[in-house]
Amino acid sequence: MAEASLDILWPAFLAGLLVLATHVPLGKLVLDRGIVFIDLAIAQVAGLGVVIADFLGWEPNGWSVQVAAVAAALIAAGFLIWTERHLALLQEAVIGVVFVVAASAEIILFGFNPHGAEHLKDLLVGQILWVSPAQLLPVLVLYAAVLAIYWRFDLARQRVLFYAVFAVTVTASVQLVGVFLVFASLIVPALAARIVDMRDPLRFAYVFGFVGYVLGLLGSDMLDFPTGAAIVCTLAAMAAVTLIVRAAKSVAA
């Protein structure tokens, strides 16, 4: 039966690798900027874009939904570029407000069109286990482009490019694996790398994320836990271990 389980888990595993490939380096930048909730805000606004498109009577099909989501995410990114320039120290607060306002606007619009809620759910509550290999291909192409931009340009300096790349990346990943897993993939490996203070934090974060996904997938399979939640908790548990190791080291020193 082992092969059966492998067969079930491998699309989720590939989805995880794709998400990690882009989110680990972007997560480091997000952590450096101190704007950790930006992914939640961008994802929520992308969702709002879909709900508005639905509200305006666009028949939702694959492409119009993606266009609406990406357009809304880019508008949000544009707004956040502007606020970072003018309200630099308050950026985190602005991001929080964008998140709750987008979420609340969606609730108001649902009153007019409850089916928008379903589209939103599809968009924000992606489930890693439901991923089909066909879904992975466009994301693979997109993320290859994202990584090329990441290595070619210094996104830490290029503010506009950073926000644009980030908006597109997150809009794709939340549909694949859901907001919780996106947040965890972005922040936890980068956080763990900070905690252990490695010389090559990016490499450490990649390995950390990789091990977390594999252990989370296995744990979910053995214990029959919801897969996305199991991976998030595994990553968090591993970060806790790094924290303990660091504390033990400093006591010893």
Binding site: M1, A2, E3, A4, S5, L6, I8, L9, I107, F110, G111, F112, N113, P114, H115, A117, E118, K121, Q127, I128, L129, W130, S132, V207, F210, V211, V214, L217, L218, S220, D221, M222, D224, F225, P226, T227, G228, A229
Partner: protein
């Protein structure tokens, strides 16, 4: 290049840690909801091995993806679901991921309960503005035990067709179940006489089969449209209508948040009655017979409390 051994190692762990399915000559049944698991167990007895995808405390409209769901459906000989789009959010994707030809829609191994009975509340016009509605009609058919009788007969036949070696057993248990249920229905209907003509407010539109059976009337819903939370103006109007329409109680199900019905209950001074909705929804509802028994007991208590 140091990642390669890690990959190999972890794949080996994958293989070791994989779940195994019980290997047996039994018919493996994947039941989407607890009521169908209970019914299949009643009809299949020792000849079936039943896995339930959702619990009574879960909203069957949406569930979290777990690996066992796919592996169980992959190994299933028969899937028993409600249908009528109740499981539209997860069953199609699960069927795709399972790639089990035996249980795909149209195959003998795919059984939809709603195909067997006449659905109520079929929308006359399909408008997305009307809320989360099911175009084929209201799928929550388990509220009426007379539906259960019809579905049991069809399911017993299906089990016999899939597992001809034990056909006699399915037929026999099917007959016994039908007789027992027919008799119980007589008793419940007598017991439920005080409920006839009682007006109720419901949370979500999922009680029409129950209220229809017992002769109760749904005169209002807490959700203005299925799946949409109420606003204050709507609630104010609902509270005004409750005494006008002589509403005796608010009904909600075990998997729902009790806060909205409790709010209405406190404001309108009528009892809020939590019903099991499916097998396992309350401690007392261990099988289908307990389910109807407990539902009627709770409704009668609600009427009595109102005086």
């Amino acid at each position: 290049m140091r990642k390669i051994p890690i990959v190999t190692f972890l794949f080996a762990v994958f293989a070791l840690g994989a779940t195994s399915l019980p290997a047996s000559a039994k018919v493996n049944v994947f039941a989407c909801e607890p009521e169908w698991a209970a019914l299949t167990t009643a009809l299949g007895g020792e000849d079936v091995e039943v896995f339930t995808a959702t619990t009574a405390r879960q909203d069957p409209h949406q569930i979290q993806a777990r690996p066992a769901l796919i592996s169980r459906l992959r190994g299933a000989d028969l899937a028993v679901c409600t249908g009528a789009e109740l499981e539209i959010g997860w069953m199609p994707v699960l069927l795709r991921q399972s790639s089990n030809a035996k249980v795909q829609p149209g195959a003998p191994g795919y059984f939809e309960a709603t195909q067997q009975v006449k659905l109520l509340e079929v929308p006359t016009r399909l408008d997305r503005a009307e809320g989360d509605i099911h175009p084929q009609g209201n799928p929550h058919i388990q509220g009426d035990p007379r539906n259960m009788q019809i579905i049991a007969a069809a399911l017993a036949k299906r089990l016999a067709a899939i597992d001809p070696a034990h056909a006699a057993g399915y037929t026999e248990r099917g007959k016994a179940f039908d007789e027992k249920l027919a008799q119980a229905i007589q008793g419940w209907q007598k017991e439920a006489t005080p409920l006839k003509g009682v007006n109720v407010v419901i949370y979500h539109k999922e009680w029409i089969y129950l209220t229809n059976w017992l002769g109760m009337h749904e005169v209002g819903t807490i959700e203005p449209k299925p799946g949409v939370p109420p606003g204050s103006a709507y609630l104010a109007q609902l509270l005004e209508e409750i005494p006008q329409k002589n509403v005796k109680m608010v009904i909600y199900s075990a998997y729902q948040d009790p806060r909205a019905p409790e709010f209405i209950s406190a404001k309108a001074k009528i009892p809020a009655v939590m019903l099991p909705f499916t097998v396992g929804g309350t401690e007392a509802s261990r099988d289908l017979f307990d389910l109807y028994e407990d539902t009627i007991k709770r409704l009668l208590a609600g009427v009595a409390a109102h005086g």
